[in-house]
């Protein structure tokens, strides 16, 4: 699977500082994953099985590599401030299991913290 051209280059275990308005939000990269949509097969309106969506012309859902992330609620003034909080173990509570497309993290507005 190709890496999106404009997306940030990162690895599992990295943290991503993403510009969010006037501040920066922090994410921990847990994994790269691929996702596909399943549709419900019904018998008499009762769900009995899930099958792959098999579209004709429309783009399949969840195209491209996805990031499984932990998202932190705390906002930072700068990537440097986020990095300092990371080093000090002061990120606060995070929400695990957040799925986002890698293409949604353009290198122009994302900094990798290692």
């Amino acid at each position: 699977m190709k890496l999106p051209d404009d997306a940030v280059r990162c690895r599992a275990g990295d943290h991503l500082a993403v510009r969010d308005g006037d501040g920066w939000q922090l994410f921990a990269v847990e994994d790269f994953v691929a996702a596909r949509r399943l549709v419900t097969l019904l018998r008499d309106d009762e769900p009995v099985e899930l099958v792959d969506e098999l579209p004709d012309g429309v783009a399949p859902a969840y195209e491209g590599p996805q990031l499984l992330l932990t998202a932190y609620a705390r906002r930072f003034e700068s990537p440097e401030a986020a990095s300092a909080a990371l080093a000090a173990g002061e990120l606060g509570e995070g929400v695990p299991g957040v799925l986002r497309p890698l293409a949604g993290f353009p290198s122009a507005s994302t900094q990798v913290l290692r």
């Binding site: 097969l41 792959d52 098999l54 579209p55 012309g57 429309v58 783009a59 399949p60």
Partner: protein
């Protein structure tokens, strides 16, 4: 810019019938052809064929492409068969092939980007719209593609690119009554109007990330109302449920757009 590699018809991936039908009586074969190609076209073909061993290459018939000759007639042309029916089948096939070659030559001269298709691109990287527009990318936004197809304002003149666009409701089902909710989907193809201002026969098609098939006429690519669902990848593998029941695609509520666009250049 490097040399473009083009699809060679000898290596065509034209889909074969899943269940070849047995050879019917001759009358049934001709009726099948008549249903497929239309009365006038078949009438001309029959008159030419009945006239004897004449050369049919100049025959002007625009209603049927080689890929659309009914299986019955293709069987009539099998080399092991003899007699007037086999000869008729062979003449029909030769005639359709000659017409296709003429149309391909017109396409190559009038709008070379649409001569067959470029082969370096991974089938998984473009869809029907990427092929129809010869941009070789994945253009999967239905509303955007409807708008693009609708924007054509050209006339049916030599070298114009004719686009066919269909949108419809789609669901999956099994023969034993299981089915998915409907979604909305589309298919589109395009080809070049020939020097006689007639519709193209050298139109190629691909469905999602599946392989390219063809050539055929443009209307010949209208998706069927029901066919076997296949994996959305270049393997085009027939899809089934976990318990082995074949999955079928069912399409309904068709809307069609046919518009002419300017050739985008080489």
């Amino acid at each position: 810019m490097g040399v473009r590699l083009r699809h060679e018809r000898e290596a065509d991936t034209e889909r074969k019938p899943e269940h070849p039908r047995p050879a019917p009586p001759s009358g049934a074969a001709l009726l099948a052809l008549q249903r497929s190609a239309g009365n006038q076209a078949v009438g001309r073909l029959l008159r030419q064929a009945a006239a004897g061993p004449g050369d049919l290459r100049e025959l002007m018939v625009d209603s049927i492409a080689p890929g659309e000759i009914p299986a019955e007639v293709a069987q009539l042309s099998a080399p092991e068969q003899a007699g007037p029916e086999a000869e008729l089948g062979r003449k029909l096939a030769r005639s359709a092939q000659a017409r296709l070659q003429r149309k391909e030559a017109d396409t190559l001269e009038l709008c070379p980007r649409y001569w067959r298709y470029e082969t370096p691109h991974d089938f998984a990287s473009y869809n029907c719209a990427g092929l129809a527009w010869r941009t070789y990318d994945f253009r999967g936004d239905l509303a955007a593609e409807r708008s693009a197809a609708s924007s054509g304002s050209g006339t049916q003149s030599p070298g114009a690119v004719k686009h066919w666009f269909w949108e419809y409701d789609l669901h999956l089902e099994t023969d034993d009554g299981r089915r998915t909710p409907k979604s909305h989907d589309f298919h589109t193809v395009a080809g070049v109007v020939d020097k006689a201002s007639a519709d193209p026969d050298d139109v190629y098609s691909k469905n999602g990330r599946r392989p390219v098939y063809g050539p055929r006429t443009g209307p010949g690519w209208k998706p069927p109302t029901r066919d076997r669902a296949t994996s959305n990848d270049p393997s085009d593998t027939p899809a089934s449920t976990d318990d082995g029941a074949p999955l079928y695609k069912v399409r309904s509520n068709f809307k069609e757009i046919v518009k002419l666009h300017a050739c985008p250049g080489p």
